[in-house]
Amino acid sequence: MNVTLQEFDKAISVSIEEERLDAHNSNELKAQLLNLFEEGKINIIIDLKSVRFIDSSGLGALVSGFKNASSRNGGVKLCGLQPQVKSMFELTRLHRVFEIFPGIDEALATF
């Protein structure tokens, strides 16, 4: 999975450079997030602006990251959701679980 990492003082952003986040690549995202947690990076912003399509496995990988971060007293926040992707969060009620922001800067300001 292609991702771009950017380190800031209070958090790290993970920009997913894939059009699809699905059952084919969601385990890679889970593994990448686990690596960051193990390095002590527990405040993560996941930027989904390049993601046009997400399925239940992709949503599951984000929930897994959210739970892992919370158990380490950190947080996973999302930004850059395209309208169809956002509607999947609403359909599965996950918009009530995640904090969702327009862009990285807005998410960063809340850590």
Partner: protein, 148 residues
Amino acid sequence: MKNLLEVDIKVPNQTRYLSLIGKIGEDIANTLKRFNNSDPEELAYHINLVITEAMANAIKHANQNDPTKDVHICICLSDQELCIKVYDQGQGFDINQIETTDPDPQQDHGRGIFLIRALMDRVSYERCATGHVLEMRKSLKTLPKKRN
């Protein structure tokens, strides 16, 4: 009910084919602009999604990631409905045992069948000659004809 279009595809039991088949479903749904079925782009996304979910279930759960197995997908379009059938070669499961209530937001799995049921009008999972088939149907309401 005559089929306007029928696409029959067999792919190896690998998740790398999800995007290819999902895109075919999306492109077929994109041809339905003359149908009064909500936003055509939204319908196209939903068709891509239900195909992706059904195939991922077939590959990982029914066919247990066995690379010697296949997944067979049939997409049929008539003037009244879009029907998608996904055939696996597994032992099957009882779809009625899967809860119809909203999935637990804290769980990192278990949303696939929920999404299929939420987005399609009729869903069934039955035994067939080679394994099981998940059948998903969406009614297509035609736009009323313009009066001259």
